[in-house]
C-alpha cells in the first residue's frame, strides 16, 4: 500500500516520516524514530504501557494511527528526563519503589506527568482514578500511588521555593 508523509514534533524535535497509513503511532515512535520508551503491553487499548502525551493529553499510542497524529506535539518518556537528570516523578518512582520489572513504568510516568498538571494536589483516590487506564502486573499499585503522591508534594514544594526566590 502507498506510503504517506507524516510530520510531527517529538520531544521538541521536528520529525518527518514516510509510513503506511496503518502504522500505529507506537510503532512509528519505536521503530521509525527509535523512541522505545513507549512500550506495547497489550496492543488492545487496555494496559496503558504505550501512553504518551499528544498535544497535552495522555493517549494510548497503540490506538491511534500515525497519520492521525499529523502536526501533533508528542512527548515520550525520553522527553521528560535523562539518566543523568531524572524528572521529579522518575526520581520519586525510584525512591519509593514505584516499579519492579519496569514494563508499565514509561506509561505510568507519562500518565502521572500529565495527571499532575491536570490535578497538582490530588488525593490518593484521585491518583488511583487518574491512573486507572494503566495496568501494573508487579507492584500492586501501592508504591506507584506513593510515588505519585510524593512527586506531587515535591513539585509543589519546589514551586513554593521558586515563588519565594522571585519575591
Amino acid at each position: 500500500m502507498e506510503k504517506i508523509n507524516v510530520s510531527m514534533k517529538v520531544n521538541g524535535k521536528d520529525e518527518n516520516l514516510n509510513v503506511e497509513p496503518r502504522t500505529l503511532l507506537v510503532h512509528a515512535l519505536r521503530e521509525h524514530l527509535e523512541y522505545t520508551g513507549a512500550h506495547i503491553g497489550c496492543s488492545s487499548s487496555h494496559c496503558g504501557a504505550c501512553t504518551v502525551d499528544l498535544n497535552g493529553k495522555s493517549v494510548k499510542s497503540c490506538t491511534i494511527f500515525a497519520p492521525q497524529a499529523e502536526g501533533a506535539e508528542i512527548l515520550t518518556v525520553e522527553g521528560i528526563g535523562t539518566p543523568d537528570k531524572l524528572h521529579v516523578i522518575q526520581e520519586m518512582f525510584k525512591e519509593h519503589h514505584g516499579l519492579q520489572c519496569g514494563y508499565c513504568t514509561p506509561g505510568m510516568i507519562m500518565r502521572s506527568y500529565r495527571f499532575l498538571q491536570e490535578n497538582p494536589n490530588p488525593t490518593e483516590e484521585e491518583v488511583r482514578f487518574g491512573i486507572s487506564g494503566n495496568l501494573c502486573r508487579c507492584t500492586g499499585y501501592q508504591n506507584i500511588v506513593k510515588s505519585i503522591m510524593a512527586a506531587a508534594k515535591k513539585i509543589n514544594e519546589e514551586a513554593k521555593v521558586e515563588e519565594k526566590e522571585i519575591a
Partner: protein, 284 residues
C-alpha cells in the same frame, strides 16, 4: 496486531467526507476517536479500504447551549463532555455517565458521535441519549435528516444510519428533575454488566415526569416505556420504586457472556435500576 492496509483521507468538510463515502460504499469508513474502530480493525473483524478521519471538520466540534436547547457536535470528546461546566449545569447526568466510561486516556480521544453511531449495545451513550430523548442529525448524499435516539437502534451494530451518512450532531432539551446513571462493571475500562439511567421530576412527592433507559441489557439500548407509565402521576415510595424496577427488568433481554449468565445479569440490572431510581429521587 496490525490492521490490513487502507487509504487515509482527512477531508475538511462534511460534503467532502460524504462524497468519499458515496464513492466507496461499504469499503469506506469514518474514524472519530478510533477507540472502538481501531481495536476491531486490529482483530481484522472488519475490512476497511478507505479510512476517513473526521477530525479536520470544524462543524463537527463543540457544545452549544442556548436556553434549554443543547447541541453537541459529533466529534466532541468524552473528556470535553466531562469538563464543560455549562453542560454540567444544564445536564449533569452526562458528566456522571461519562466518568463511568473507559479510562482517562480513552476518554481523551473517544467521541460522543463514535459512541452513539457505533451501534454496540455495550456503549453507554446510546442509552444515555435515549434517556434524554435526544435527536441525531445525519448528513448524507440525500441531504440532512433527523432521527430520534429512541428510534435509531435496530440490532447490535445495525442502526438507522445509511452507509453514506455521517452523524453531525446530537441535540436535546436540558432535563429537569433528579438524575442518576448507575453502572455495574467488573473493573474500570470494562463495559457494563448492566447500567441504568433515570430522570425523575417530582412535585410534592408525586412523579410528574420520568425517563428510564438501560445499557447492555439487550442487543440495543432499552427504553422502559411501561415503567415510565407506572411512575408518572404516582406518589413515590419504596414500594412503587420496587414495582418500577421489576417492570424494567422484565423489559431487559440480556445474553450470557463473560460477564455472567442471564439470571445474574437480570439480578444486577435490578440492583442498578433500583439504585438509580433512588438516587434520582433523592436529587429531585
Amino acid at each position: 496486531m496490525i490492521p490490513s492496509a487502507f487509504k487515509f483521507y482527512k477531508p475538511n468538510s462534511i460534503e467532502k467526507a460524504v462524497s468519499i463515502m458515496k464513492d466507496f460504499g461499504d469499503e469506506a469508513r469514518v474514524i472519530a476517536g478510533g477507540h472502538s474502530l481501531i481495536p476491531v480493525m486490529k482483530q481484522r473483524l472488519t475490512d476497511i479500504k478507505h479510512l476517513i478521519d473526521l477530525s479536520a471538520i470544524k462543524e463537527l466540534k463543540g457544545i452549544n447551549i442556548s436556553g434549554k436547547s443543547i447541541s453537541i457536535g459529533a466529534m466532541t470528546t468524552q473528556v470535553e463532555l466531562i469538563t464543560n461546566e455549562n453542560l454540567f449545569k444544564s445536564a449533569p447526568v452526562i458528566r456522571e455517565a461519562s466518568l463511568q466510561i473507559a479510562d482517562p486516556q480513552v476518554r481523551n480521544l473517544g467521541t460522543i458521535g463514535g459512541n452513539v453511531a457505533n451501534g454496540d449495545p455495550a456503549n453507554d451513550m446510546p442509552g444515555l441519549m435515549q434517556l434524554l430523548d435526544a435527536t441525531y442529525k445525519l448528513s448524507g448524499t440525500n441531504g440532512v435528516r433527523e432521527v430520534k435516539a429512541r428510534e435509531f437502534y435496530e440490532a447490535a451494530y445495525f442502526t438507522a444510519r445509511e452507509d453514506d451518512e455521517i452523524l453531525i450532531s446530537i441535540s436535546f432539551d436540558a432535563p429537569i428533575g433528579g438524575y442518576a446513571y448507575e453502572k455495574q462493571k467488573r473493573k474500570i475500562g470494562d463495559y457494563a454488566t448492566a447500567a441504568a439511567g433515570v430522570i425523575l421530576n417530582v412535585d410534592k412527592g408525586v412523579c410528574s415526569s420520568a425517563s428510564i433507559a438501560l445499557t447492555n441489557l439487550s442487543d440495543t439500548p432499552v427504553y422502559c416505556y411501561e415503567a415510565v407509565g407506572l411512575l408518572t402521576g404516582k406518589k413515590i415510595d419504596d414500594n412503587l420504586l420496587s414495582q418500577v424496577t421489576k417492570s424494567c427488568v422484565e423489559q431487559s433481554d440480556p445474553v450470557a457472556d463473560q460477564r455472567g449468565p442471564v439470571e445474574f445479569k437480570k439480578y444486577v440490572a435490578g440492583v442498578v435500576i433500583n439504585k438509580a431510581l433512588k438516587r434520582a429521587f433523592e436529587r429531585s
